[in-house]
Structures are given as C-alpha cells and as structure tokens.
C-alpha cells in the first residue's frame, strides 16, 4: 500500500519539475537524429579529393565521391573528416593517397583504384561492422544511464531536504521506499526509450534487425540496469551524483564498445571488459540482430541480472546503514 502512496507522491511532485519531461522530450528526437545520421554516414560514400591540374579520366565508382581540386589541401581537412582521402599525382604518373581517419585497408583500396589495379573483393569489408539496430542501441545506452540519474533525483533531494526522515518516521520501510523509487524511475525511463526505438524502427523500416518484442525486451534490460545504477549511485554518494554518474557512464560505455567495437589485444583488459554488464548487453544486441536465438545468450542475461540485483541490494543496505548512523536526521 505504502508503495502506491509513495508513487502517487512522486508523480504529484513531477508537476513542479517540468524540466524532467522537457529533457526527455529533447533527448528522444536527438537520439533518433543522431542514430539515423550515424547509420547514414556509415553507408554513405567515402569522399576523395584529387589534387591535380589536369585530371581528366575521372573514374566513376559507386563507393566513392570524387572531387577534383586545383589547390593543395591542408592536413586539417583530413583530420576533421571533410575529406576521407586526398590523392596526389606524382611526377611519374603514379598516385599517392593520404588519409587520417580511415584505416589502412581502405587506404590501399583507394590507392589501387587510382593506379588501375584490381581491388580484392574481400578487403572492402572490415569484420567489426555492426548493424544499424545495435549501433542505435549502443548510442541509447549512454543517454539512458544519464537520464536514469535525472529521474532518480527525488531520492537525494529527500535526503538533503530532510524529507526522508519524515517518510521513515511513518510506517514506510526503506525497502518499500527504494522499490517505489525503482518503479518510478523504471517506468519514466522505459516508456520514452521504447517509443524512441519504436519510432526509429518506423523511420528506418526493415534496416533495424529486431522485432517489436525483442525491442521491448532489450530496452527493458537496459532501463532496469540503469535504474539500479542510478539508485546505487544515489545511495553511496552524498553530492555531485550527476557529475559522477555521467563520468562513469561515459567511460564504461566507451570501454564496452558502445560506439566503436574494438579489441585491445591484452587478455586481462578484454576479460575485465567482458565482465561489465554493458558489454554483455552489446553482445546480446549484436547477436540478436544477426538472428541468433535468445537462448544462446543466457550467460549474458545472467550477468546483466546479477549486476542489476547486486547494485540494488547494495543500495538498500547502504541506505539502511546511513539511516542507522543517523545521517538523515
């Protein structure tokens, strides 16, 4: 009963905090635009600038957009990605290719193209390419975690404004308070995120490799995890919760390959990364997009569930200890 009352209380407090609604409304379109443009930029042609005075035999190629320039280009244009490659003609008629942000395989492809050599067909695709769906989810992970701490803000607020003491003086136990906060944050995160992914599915059509049920499951898993993380952070930290969790979320999602998949090649680092919940999540997302069965990823799901539960339990225990120590008085 007390859980329902606590939830009602939180919802009525939302009225004075329109910023939460606004930030959720801003986040959703941004994530969609970002995801669509990201997937668009991956499939779009690589741009090549050819620096030459008399370059006539422009080879039309479906993979590249070729621009002919008469002036020499600075290196910064490559560093900023305005052009992917710059091709220069040597005195002997041979072409050299320069690049900053593309890997060696692609560079050699371009070099072969200009020097009229054959391109080997396997080398054009790198193995770490990821589907649209999982790169979209990878982008969403960071936003969901940061938004989670914003939605959990009533909990630390209750501590600073001494409301928690009043709440605990009544019949409400710490457990039911934390559960109510969990439900509130979970729903507040889940609904907009699910809608965001569903809308992007509608925009991208068949490109996104999940069915609606799988999207529902995957967003539920990540919102559960980030809710637990937000509660955990709110109970162990005294202040600056948002700064700290932004910091941790950014670093963890980078290490776990949310934006760019990588292998460090060092065994210890890789195995530590694999233990982190977000890398299991990304593995699951990638595998499901390829069409593997859910059952194959039971270990990954187990890992995610373990992290969620452990963080929640630690949160409850620490809140209990802080209450006993009289920190909320």
């Amino acid at each position: 009963m007390s859980i329902i009352n606590l939830l009602k209380n939180k919802i009525s407090r939302m009225r004075t905090r329109q910023d939460m609604v606004v930030s959720a409304l801003i986040i959703i379109p941004i994530v969609i635009i970002a995801a669509v443009s990201f997937s668009g930029s991956k499939n779009s042609k690589l741009s090549i600038a050819v620096v030459s005075d008399n370059y006539n035999n422009i080879q039309e190629d479906n993979n590249y957009k070729i621009t002919v320039l008469s002036q020499k280009l600075g290196f910064s244009d490559l560093a900023l990605g305005i052009y992917d490659f710059v091709v220069k003609e040597n005195n002997d008629g041979h072409y050299t290719v320069e690049t900053a942000l593309q890997d060696n395989v692609k560079k050699q492809d371009v070099q072969k193209l200009f020097n009229n050599e054959k391109i080997s067909s396997q080398s054009t695709k790198t193995e770490s390419e990821r589907g649209v769906g999982s790169s979209l989810l990878g982008l969403i992970v960071l936003f969901v975690i940061i938004e989670g701490t914003t939605l959990t803000v009533f909990f630390p607020n209750d501590i600073t404004f001494k409301t928690l003491k009043r709440i605990f003086t009544s019949e409400v136990s710490e457990k039911s308070y934390i559960i109510a906060q969990f439900i509130f944050t979970f729903i507040g995160l889940y609904v907009p995120t699910f809608i965001a992914v569903a809308i992007s599915k509608a925009i991208l059509g068949n490109d996104i490799g999940y069915s609606t049920y799988v999207i529902a499951l995957l967003t539920a898993v990540i919102t559960g995890l980030s809710t637990a993380f937000a509660l955990f952070m709110s109970s162990i930290m005294r202040d600056n919760i948002q700064i700290a969790s932004c910091f941790i979320a950014l670093i963890v999602s980078l290490i776990c390959g949310c934006f760019y998949k990588f292998n460090s090649g060092i065994k210890i680092i890789d195995s530590i990364c694999n233990l982190l919940p977000i890398s299991s999540y990304m593995n699951i997302a990638e595998g499901l997009e390829k069409g593997n069965s859910l059952f194959q990823y039971r270990l990954g799901f187990l890992n995610l569930a373990l992290w969620t539960i452990v963080m929640l339990v630690i949160g409850v225990l620490i809140t209990h200890r802080r209450l006993k120590n009289g920190e909320f008085n």
Binding site: R17, D19, M20, V22, S23, I26, I27, I30, I33, A34, S37, F38, G40, S41, S44, S47, G74, F75, S76, L78, A79, L80, G81, I82, Y83, D84, E98, T99, A100, L101, Q102, D103, N104, K107, T150, V153, N157, T160, D239, N240, Q242, I243, A244, C246, F247, L250, I251, L254, I255, G257, F259, Y260, F262, S264
Partner: protein, 248 residues
C-alpha cells in the same frame, strides 16, 4: 576589492570539493587514454596518431562539460547557505553571479592548461609545438563561453537539478556536432545546418588548422564569436537574476 574576495572564497570552495577536482582532471586524462587506445587502428597516418587527435579533443570536451561544475558552485544546497550571506552584503547583484563565473573559469583554465602542457611535453602529443599557446587560448575562450552559458542557465532555472538536466543536454548536442565524433564531411542537408550552428565545431576546426597547417584564418573570428556569445549569456544573467529568488 570585495569582488576579489568573493572569487577567492568560491575558488577555495571548488578546490575543497574533491568530486569536482577529480572529474575535471581525471575525465580528460582517462578519456584521452581510453579513446587513444580504442581508436588506435583507425588512425593510419604518421602525422596524426589517435593520441594526438584525442589529446586536443578531450580537452575541448571537458571545456564544454564544465557547465556542470558552474551549476554546482552556483546552486548547490551546501554552497548556497554561505552564498546567502554574500547576497545580503552591500555589493551590487552583478558581483554575485560574475564571481561564480570567474571562479569556475579560473579553476578550469588552471587545470586544463596544466593538462595541455603535460600532454604536449611529457606524453609528446602534438598541440602544435610553439603554437600550443593559441590552442590553449581557444580552449580557454570555449571554457569562458561554457561557464557563462551555465551561469545564464542557473539564473533562468534557479535550481541545480533543473540546470543539470537541461544545460548539459544542450552542450552535448554542441559536442555531437563538433566534428569530434561525426566527421564534418557528412553531407546530408540537416546535418550541415547543425554543424554550422555548433560553436564547438569552430573551435575544433580552428585548432586542427593551427596545429597541422599553421593556418590562423579562423582564430580571431572564433574568439570574437565566443566572446559575443558569452556577453549575450551574461546579459541574460543581468536581466534574469533576482536576489529574492536566489535566497528562497
């Protein structure tokens, strides 16, 4: 004279909050190392390694994200208690918000400048050799803009949580369209508009031009643009900051 005293007091406050110091020093360093390692294979050129690129860009990212430090210094409940006394002291109300802005700015540039020099001379990253000073000036100007943006947000929204849920969002959009994560060459119509609207984009572009091409074409324009934007933000503070509402 009283203004200097308030700034000193605020600076002490920031340096005494361990979280703020840790985040503003560790974040650029850790990000720089992680991104440098992750993206190593993508940078095949000898002129610019991933570490060179991310040493500059992580400092730009941290300079943009300083907004959360400013809001903490301005509106945190614990800091606010002391600030109430300052507000009631016989000083002009402009000094109240300007002192927060200036103290965060000083704090940030001390840390970022030290980091930039460490990264250039100890980690041997490329900040443009002797031109490092111009890159640092750019990053400092960006920091000043971010501080004044956040101060304006604090004056309008009047609550730390509200500020922290809206202003970092705006700055992360700036960052997303800054050429650090998405290459500037991406040419779909709407992306180009977003790219030209983000002030951070000009800082990245200008610093890359200075470092790799010794080209200062954008330098003064970028600085002047950032200063004008900062002045607009400070004017917003002037018109929206009300002592009664701050004390409440």
């Amino acid at each position: 004279m009283s203004f200097v005293n308030i700034v000193k007091f605020d600076l002490k406050n920031i340096f005494k909050t361990p979280m703020l110091v840790i985040v503003n020093t560790l974040e650029p360093l850790v990000l720089y190392i992680i991104l440098g390692v992750i993206m190593k294979n993508k940078f095949s050129n000898k002129i610019m390694s991933s570490f060179d690129f991310y040493a500059v860009t992580t400092l730009i990212i941290s300079a943009t994200m300083i907004v959360m430090t400013t809001s903490n210094i301005f509106l945190d409940e614990k800091v606010k208690r002391g600030n109430r006394r300052v507000v009631y002291a016989p000083i002009s109300k402009g000094q109240v918000y300007l002192s927060k802005l200036v103290s965060t700015f000083i704090f940030a540039i001390i840390l970022f400048d030290i980091l930039a020099f460490i990264e250039q001379y100890i980690f041997k990253c490329n900040f443009g050799g002797k031109n490092i000073i111009f890159v640092i000036i750019l990053i400092d100007a960006l920091t000043f803009f971010a501080c004044s943006l956040s101060t304006a947000g604090c004056c309008i929204l009047k609550n730390e949580d509200k500020v922290n849920s809206i202003i970092p969002l705006i700055t992360s959009v700036f960052l997303f369209f800054s050429g650090i994560f998405v290459p500037l060459g991406t040419d779909s119509g709407i992306m180009k508009v977003f790219f030209s609207l983000s002030p951070v984009r000009y800082v990245t572009e200008c610093s890359m031009q200075i470092i790799y091409d010794n080209n200062f074409a954008l330098f003064y324009k970028t600085i002047i643009m950032l200063m004008i934007l900062s002045i607009i933000c400070i004017l917003i503070c002037k018109f929206t900051f009300k002592v009664e509402e701050y004390v409440r």
